[in-house]
């Protein structure tokens, strides 16, 4: 019941908000905020309950023995951090779109609907439910990009939908093969032995097709920058913050357990792609002239760490994958939030036109510098633990290839510092004189993220601890435990 | 064998007419040729066995009836086109793409 509520609160909230939007447009955002906060509080309570309980899992939904329902839910160390992240970013997204004038009812309803769908992806314990939620995520995102996006939104919305749909369509075939050859549709019951050995490699790659696009793994990433640049702020926050995590989650939840030996065999490929992603993403980010595009490519680089960690597959590395995912969820969300707030004021994201904002918008720029430093993996901030551990563990498996990753680390510094240099530092520009600095609502959105980034950096075990048992079990499967 | 060849030939010939004649009237006529050939085959197959013969004739009658109905509809269409002065197949190539 609890878990069902977890999925239904934002859903019901969406309906409520939409109705409110028809009659009292002014109060919509408040309603949305209230719903999101309730969800967050509820999630936190749940998280504490589950995390302190051993084993750290909880099942829910219509689980009566006789029922043939697809509505089976389950939370474990793998899903929990991501669910919390989702609820958190849900609140942030609502705050980020506080000033949406255009059809606010629909906008907030879509946001909450998106949140519900993503939460359900992480909650689902039934293949069909999982896939349904997975695709359902596309719908609100499609409308968010298309309805509230920027100039190129027509194309971006379609591209986002079709590109990711292409991946998940193949994934569907993989899931169908799993479900209908084994006759087992409960995700938690999908153990490594269950799938016919002759099918495993095929299924593995079919599933990976879906996840690789979502992560995204280079070279299946080109939908991301476009979607990000065109999406409204809240959309970008959810997209970078949680949607990309669905890919990593899928790899850990399905690809590894179902076809361990295939995963083991494919590990070098993934490591290579991960490393390529780290370096390539950073290199391309370095060349961007659009601030939002730059952040988007930095996301690609960071998700490269996730892929690399998963390929490494040791318990610590898998925990690191989760650390990087959560950390990136916080950091990129903060960065996109800031970029959005900046765009509201300057109506440009061009690095060439920005500059000197430390003088113009001191508070904003300070937080921006902080976020950029976090994004380059500064120790003491969220990015560091996961990337460090990935690095350490990766060396054990991939040896001196990690030199390339080290290069990526340097380049991460390069693009982050470039962003700081072009945006925050430099002489104050008369063009931007007299812009108003962040107000309370905007601070309320940014500051919690900043604080959490510090917390994650200092006390990563809050996440890795929850992940611990799952990580050990998984890496035992892929034979690196 | 002969009948088989004959009816198949008739069908083929009718088809050729349908595909090549320009006057819609001729096209419809060619259709009748095809249909005739086909029902001839039906009859020829049904004829031998005493049991099948009756059923065959029955079916043939039904086919005949249906064919007539079709012909009626076809000619109705034809007339409705002729009224608009479109009597040849190249007059009706408007709907495309």
């Amino acid at each position: 019941m609890t878990l069902t509520l977890l999925a239904l609160i934002p859903l019901g909230g969406a309906a409520l908000v939409w109705v409110t939007g028809r009659f009292r447009p002014a109060t919509v955002r408040v309603a949305a905020l209230v719903v999101a906060l309730i969800q967050l509080a509820f999630t936190c309570v749940l998280a504490v309950t589950v995390a302190t309980h051993t084993p750290a899992t909880m099942t829910g939904g219509l689980t009566s023995a006789a029922s043939t329902s697809f509505w089976l839910l389950r939370v474990d160390g793998l899903a929990l951090p991501l669910i919390v992240l989702t609820s958190l970013l849900g609140v942030i997204a609502v705050l980020a779109s506080w000033r949406v004038e255009l059809r606010p009812g629909a906008h907030f309803a879509l946001l909450l609907g998106l949140q519900a769908a993503v939460t359900l992806v992480f909650l689902a314990d039934h293949l069909v439910l999982f896939y349904a939620a997975w695709e359902a995520v596309l719908i609100p995102m499609f409308f968010l990009i298309g309805g509230w996006g920027h100039e190129g939104r027509r194309h971006a919305a379609m591209k986002f939908f079709i590109y990711t749909f292409a991946g998940s369509a193949l994934m569907l075939i993989g899931l169908l093969l799993v479900g209908f050859t084994t006759g087992e549709l409960r995700i938690s019951a999908l153990s490594s032995g269950i799938l016919d050995p002759t099918l495993r490699t095929l299924v593995f790659w079919l599933l990976v097709a879906g996840f690789a696009v979502k992560v995204p793994i280079v070279p299946f990433h080109t939908w991301l920058p476009e979607a990000h640049v065109e999406a409204p702020t809240a959309g970008s926050i959810m997209l970078a913050g949680v949607l990309l995590k669905m890919g990593g989650y899928g790899l850990l939840r399905f690809a590894l357990p179902l076809a361990p030996e295939a995963a083991h065999a494919a590990a070098p490929v993934f490591a290579t792609l991960g490393i390529i992603g780290i370096v390539y993403g950073a290199v391309v980010a370095l060349a961007q002239t659009d601030l939002k595009r730059l952040v988007a490519y930095s996301s690609i680089a960071h998700m490269g760490f996730v892929v690399l960690a998963i390929a490494t597959g040791s318990p610590l590395a898998l925990a690191a994958a989760m650390l990087v995912m959560v950390a990136h969820g916080l950091t990129s969300a903060l960065l996109f939030l800031l970029v959005g707030q900046l765009y509201e004021r300057t109506h440009t994201r061009s690095l060439a036109r920005l500059g000197g904002l430390l003088a113009t918008l001191p508070v904003w720029a300070t937080i921006f510098v902080f976020a950029s430093l976090a994004s380059l993996g500064l120790p003491g901030l969220a990015g560091f633990p996961g990337e460090l551990v990935t690095f350490l563990e990766g060396f054990a498996s991939w040896g001196w290839w990690m030199v390339a990753v080290a290069l990526g680390v340097v380049l991460a510094g390069a693009y982050s510092l470039r962003a700081i240099r072009e945006v925050a530092q430099g002489p104050e520009k008369p063009e931007w004189a007299g812009l108003r600095d962040l107000d309370l609502i905007e601070l309320a959105a940014a500051v919690p993220l900043a604080l959490l980034i510090v917390v994650m950096g200092v006390w990563p075990s809050v996440v890795s601890g929850v992940m611990d048992p799952v990580a050990r079990a998984l890496s035992a499967l892929v034979g690196r435990g | 064998m002969n009948t088989l060849v004959l009816s198949c030939a008739l069908v083929a010939a009718g088809l050729y007419g349908v595909l090549t004649r320009r006057d819609l009237v001729a096209v419809l006529a060619s259709i009748e040729v095809m249909l005739g050939g086909a029902s001839l085959l039906l009859v020829a197959y049904a004829a031998p066995g005493v049991a099948t013969a009756a059923a065959g004739q029955g079916y043939a009658l039904l086919v005949l009836a249906v064919g007539a109905a079709e012909a009626a509809v076809g000619i109705a269409l034809l007339v409705s086109l002729i009224r608009r002065g479109r009597t040849r197949s190249e007059d009706i190539t408007e709907v495309r793409g």
Binding site: G394, V410, P427, A471 | -
Partner: protein
């Protein structure tokens, strides 16, 4: 006191807390900020004193998955104590000095917040009992240096310098990450006690690799050739910052690091050799460059690089206690020199030697302190610099004569540029545009304190060595004599060759220009690293991402709709063609059927 002894990490937490407090009230504290911030280094100092003769160590669990654990640990051992004292003293002096120097600056509180943060990070670095927390401190001091160099963010040159400093050091940091990975892979832990304990048992290849990676990290941080290019630019920051970060503490962290992990280098001769070579090259090369500088801070910056070179050379021959000794004395006299320079700049409003001159009359106290520093730098007895540098040269000469000779030359050059700068700044005719004035007591007092250190610390050599568990080599008279005489000669030449006008001696114009530009290392890096990288990035974006990868994705879509258009052409509107099409279909299907059941 016992609290400080039991909880040395207070040296980190207190300044950190202060930094947060200051940052929180950035609009509110005003001039009180300095005194609040001062508590930080003083705590560090207190912890250092409290931990003399054995401090406490401990760990916190950071990440635990299964059996594998990453711990954050602290350990107030002798070396740490020394560094804590250095950091505490210098930081306190700088903070006090800044009261006057930064007075009325926009961002006064921010300045002190960053200084406190730096103090905390530095303390964390030196207190670290494992490579993780060491690296944390290591990166954070780098970040603070970035933020402080870019303190005047509106100034493009400052912003560029800050970025450059962070980027160049980050190259070293990446290498250091690799070293950590190697060690983690080889020993399964990053706790220094354990790692160093196992150091002897490491495969030579592994040990060398790890040592070299760590060394590269140190090279980046301590501005050794070829990663030294960031330090001169870093002078864009406020002068007190240069004194604290870019002379006394952070740049010395490399030396500290190598000394801290010495057992590793013990088993990695190749790494030692590399350290010696780089150190020597740097010591000599930087000294020549310093000779040609016109900006007083640049002179000091290159001098710092050169002196750090001395330390690396000492490390290279295994004399790490000596290196630490020189680190301490250098911290004293170089901080002194920087602060004096700061005072000069404050007083005369310029930092171009060509526009100074004759300041000794206007700013006698500053001049006195400066001269004390210069004497110590040049290695004239009985100043502190003499003893430490003598020990360095002696030990190097003993192990690697060629390097020793080079260092002799370097020390001579040191004396030369010191003398030159002194003459240009304080003697001869006043060339300054506006009248200079002496600085307030808040600036002079720290100078005095440091001057005492610069002159007197020479006698701290023996106790220091004892503290570090070694015995200091006795002063070898011949070497000392050679060094001193060389220094005097150098000083004399430097004094004579000092010419105020911008253009150097025409006979050596080209040479001077080359030296002035740091022998073109910077230009080289720019042409062969920075620009290619940028070009590559642009190409990867344009050709790779937009054209190739995205082009492929988009191309598939366009192709599909093109083909769709062609297929729609099939619907030509000719009914007979449709009939033909379908008849063909029937024929094909029938044929297929016959074939399938054949």
């Amino acid at each position: 006191m016992s609290v400080l002894h039991e909880m040395p990490y207070l040296a980190v937490l207190v300044p950190l807390a202060l930094a947060v407090v200051l940052a929180a009230g950035v609009r509110f504290w005003g001039n009180a900020a300095a005194w609040i911030a001062l508590l930080g280094p003083l705590t560090g100092l207190a912890v250092g004193i409290a931990s003399i003769g054995g401090g406490t160590a401990g760990t916190f669990t950071w990440i635990r998955v299964g059996q594998t654990v990453l711990r954050l640990g602290y350990d107030a051992n002798a070396l740490t104590v020394v560094m804590l004292l250095v950091v505490g003293v210098v930081a306190s002096c700088v903070m006090v000095f800044s009261i006057g120097y930064m007075h009325g600056e926009k961002g006064y509180v921010r300045y002190y917040a960053l200084l406190s943060l730096f103090t905390a990070a530095m303390a964390a670095l030196v207190l670290a009992a494992d490579l993780v927390s060491l690296f944390v401190g290591w990166e954070l001091v780098g970040a603070c240096s970035f933020l402080l160099i870019g303190f005047w963010y509106a100034k493009p040159s400052a912003a560029e310098a800050a970025r450059k400093a962070f980027m160049v050091t980050r190259i070293g940091d990446a290498a250091m990450l690799l070293g950590m990975a190697v060690l983690w892979n080889a020993t399964g832990t990053l706790e220094l006690s354990a790692v160093l304990g196992k150091a002897a048992t490491l495969a030579p290849g592994v040990a060398t690799a790890a040592a070299i990676c760590v060394l590269l990290g140190a090279v980046g941080k301590s501005a050794q050739f070829p990663l030294h290019i960031w330090l001169p630019d870093a002078m864009e920051g406020p002068t007190p910052v240069s004194a604290l970060i870019h002379a006394a503490t952070m740049v010395a962290a490399g030396v500290f690091l190598i000394a801290r992990v010495w057992p590793l280098f013990e088993v990695a001769p190749a790494a030692r050799g590399l350290a010696l070579t780089l150190g020597t090259i740097t010591a000599l090369g930087a000294a020549t460059v310093a000779l040609a500088q016109r900006d007083i801070k640049k002179v000091l910056a290159w001098s710092t690089i050169s002196q750090l070179g001395f330390m690396f050379a000492a490390l290279g021959v295994g004399a790490w206690p000596v290196a630490i000794f020189h680190l301490v004395t250098h911290a004293a006299f170089k901080a002194l020199l920087f602060l004096s320079a700061g005072s000069v700049i404050h007083g005369s409003g310029t930092q171009d030697l060509a526009e100074m001159g004759g300041l000794a009359k206007k700013m006698p106290l500053t001049a006195a302190c400066w001269i004390a520093g210069v004497v110590s730098l040049a290695g004239i007895p009985p100043a502190a610099g003499f003893f430490s540098k003598d020990e360095v040269v002696a030990s190097v000469l003993h192990a690697a004569p060629w390097a020793g000779v080079a260092l002799f030359a370097a020390s001579a050059l040191t004396a030369a540029y010191a003398a030159r700068a002194t003459r240009l700044a304080f003697f001869g005719e006043p060339r300054g545009a506006k009248p200079a004035h002496e600085s307030p007591w808040t600036m002079i007092a720290p100078l005095a304190l440091l001057a005492v250190g610069a002159l007197g610390l020479g006698f701290a050599g023996a106790p220091l060595a004892a503290l570090l568990g070694h015995e200091a080599e006795p002063l070898s008279v011949p070497i000392a004599a050679t060094a001193v005489s060389l220094a005097l000669v150098g000083a004399f030449l430097g004094w004579r060759s000092a010419r105020p006008e911008a253009s150097a001696d025409p006979r050596f114009a080209a040479l001077t220009r080359a030296a002035y530009s740091g022998w073109g290392v910077d230009a080289f890096a720019d042409r062969f690293v920075v620009r290619p990288a940028t070009a590559l990035a642009r190409m990867a974006d344009a050709m790779g991402d937009r054209l190739a990868i995205d082009g492929l994705a988009e191309g598939v879509a366009t192709m599909a709709s093109r083909v769709g258009g062609l297929l729609a052409e099939i619907q030509s509107g000719d009914g007979q063609w449709y009939a033909a099409l379908m008849a063909t279909g029937v024929v094909v299907l029938a044929a297929a059927a016959v074939w399938l059941v054949r």
